[in-house]
């Protein structure tokens, strides 16, 4: 009887583990079915390497958007990952219980603020700030990176902090007892021990950065041409989809779904390289 239950539950767990695969397959099927024909029609090279996107006039090149996504994601990582990890360290290892009681729910709150609000915040605070400091009209790669960097903070902080907290105190104590400072103990014994959890947070955060749209669209400028300077506007793959899906028909619409296919492959590649990286480190 007990054996029976164990077996059944193991099956349940296995099934649960497979749902995310199933979901990816479903989404994949939907995307590829709707998107691949368009790539065929446009021509893969023209689609992926084309530098002009003018759907009304029959130009469907998404290369500028691929570059745009790369730039902005990289920018968001540069802003968000260090700030996020350092803040997580502060919350787990530096702050007093009282401060933590305020800070923790506040950071959680940051995760719950809708993208639209971030977008308006970006428009009225970050855009003028960047315009005044860096010139241009303010809707730029820089602004979008900054905003996205901020938006991925709660993900990175939340996951990293709990990973840091899960590290047994004995490591920290062992390091202190050798005369290492608090900071050194935290950064050189606790953080490495929490590596896997922090990496999970970073990957989730990057996923969030790539996938985030509503806010980016409000501050990035969205010009569908090759990105030029940091203070100039740019369009990302996701922005392309969000902007035009509402009015697109026929080939235009399919080309947008094909954009999602590219994005999907893009994310897959990032994740594969991350997991390869992790593997390499393990040996």
């Amino acid at each position: 009887m007990k054996q029976y239950k164990e077996k059944i539950m193991k099956g349940v767990f296995l099934t649960a583990a497979c749902t995310s695969i199933l979901a990816v397959i479903l989404i994949c099927a939907f995307l590829f079915m709707n998107g691949l024909p368009a790539i065929g029609e446009i021509g893969p090279v023209k689609f992926l390497a084309g530098e002009r996107w003018m759907p009304k006039n029959g130009f469907f090149g998404i290369f500028p958007m691929i570059m745009g996504s790369l730039y902005i994601t990289a920018g968001a990582i540069i802003v968000g990952v260090p700030v996020g990890i350092f803040t997580a360290v502060f919350m787990a290892k530096f702050c007093s219980g009282k401060l933590y009681k305020i800070l923790k729910p506040a950071v959680d709150l940051l995760a719950g603020i809708p993208s639209v609000v971030y977008g308006f915040f970006g428009m009225v605070v970050l855009v003028p700030m960047v315009r005044n400091i860096f010139g241009g009209n303010g809707n730029s790669i820089l602004t979008a990176s900054l905003l996205l960097g901020i938006m991925i903070l709660p993900t990175i902080i939340g996951v990293s902090e709990s990973a840091i907290r899960a590290v047994p105190d004995s490591y920290y104590e062992g390091s202190l007892a050798l005369g290492a400072s608090h900071e050194r103990s935290v950064f050189f014994t606790v953080l490495p021990a929490a590596k896997s959890g922090i990496l999970a947070g970073v990957v989730l955060g990057i996923g969030r950065a790539i996938g985030e749209t509503m806010a980016v669209v409000m501050v990035a400028g969205n010009q569908a041409r090759m990105p030029m300077e940091l203070a100039k506007g740019v369009r990302t793959l996701t922005a392309n989809i969000v902007l035009e899906m509402g009015y697109a028909t026929d080939l235009h619409r399919e080309a947008l779904i094909a954009t999602a296919v590219v994005l999907f492959v893009f994310i897959l590649l990032i994740n594969l390289s991350f997991s390869a990286l992790k593997h390499k480190e393990e040996f």
Partner: protein
Amino acid sequence: MESKIKVQNLDLYYGDFKALKAINLDISPNEITAFIGPSGCGKSTLLKSLNRMNDLVEGCKITGKVTLDGEDIYGDMDINLLRKRVGMVFQKPNPFPMSVYDNVAYGPRTHGVRNKAQLDEIVEKSLRNAAIWDELKDRLKKSAMGLSGGQQQRLCIARALAVEPEVLLMDEPTSALDPISTSKIEDLAAELKSKYTIIMVTHNMQQAVRISDKTAFFLLGEVVEYGKSDQLFSMPKDQRTEDYITGRFG
């Protein structure tokens, strides 16, 4: 002879619980001092007060004074330097989740040793001193987490030795060791005491007799008796000490 460590009128509370009561203790340099007493009597707690590891315990309050070479350790002294000078080996072995080599090199690196050759030398010397070099010399690059309990403990001793402390606090360092490793560690302690001051918590009275110069007997947070080991074990002054060492206790 000047005391190396002087504990004066130390009280320690964990929240409302008074774990140490009016402790007064002079630890002489270049000697081995043993702390004995039943489980829960406060040996580990006093030990941790000597390098301020109790600061980490939420709600732990200390009053009184502890001096190292006459300097108040709860005063202006740099806490990290204090802990470098007063090293510690814990009751439960706690190697870092890194390679054996990095475990031992961690301390020296912390204190500024960067030179590879020098580190290699420190690592080898420390592991040898902790009587574990031969077992581990071929797995220096392997994770320390895969070692047996006793190996982990000796690794932790090596790690503590690598920073060359003046005082070495050991919380039952040999409780997980076999007699051979134990006697190696004991020999090591005897050897080290020419340079260092050693304080060791132990449950093994034979060990205390064998290697310690002085012994402090703890009971319920108090030091009942403190004196030369041979005297304390052969003719204890306090009835409670006698009861304990003759096993007639409780």
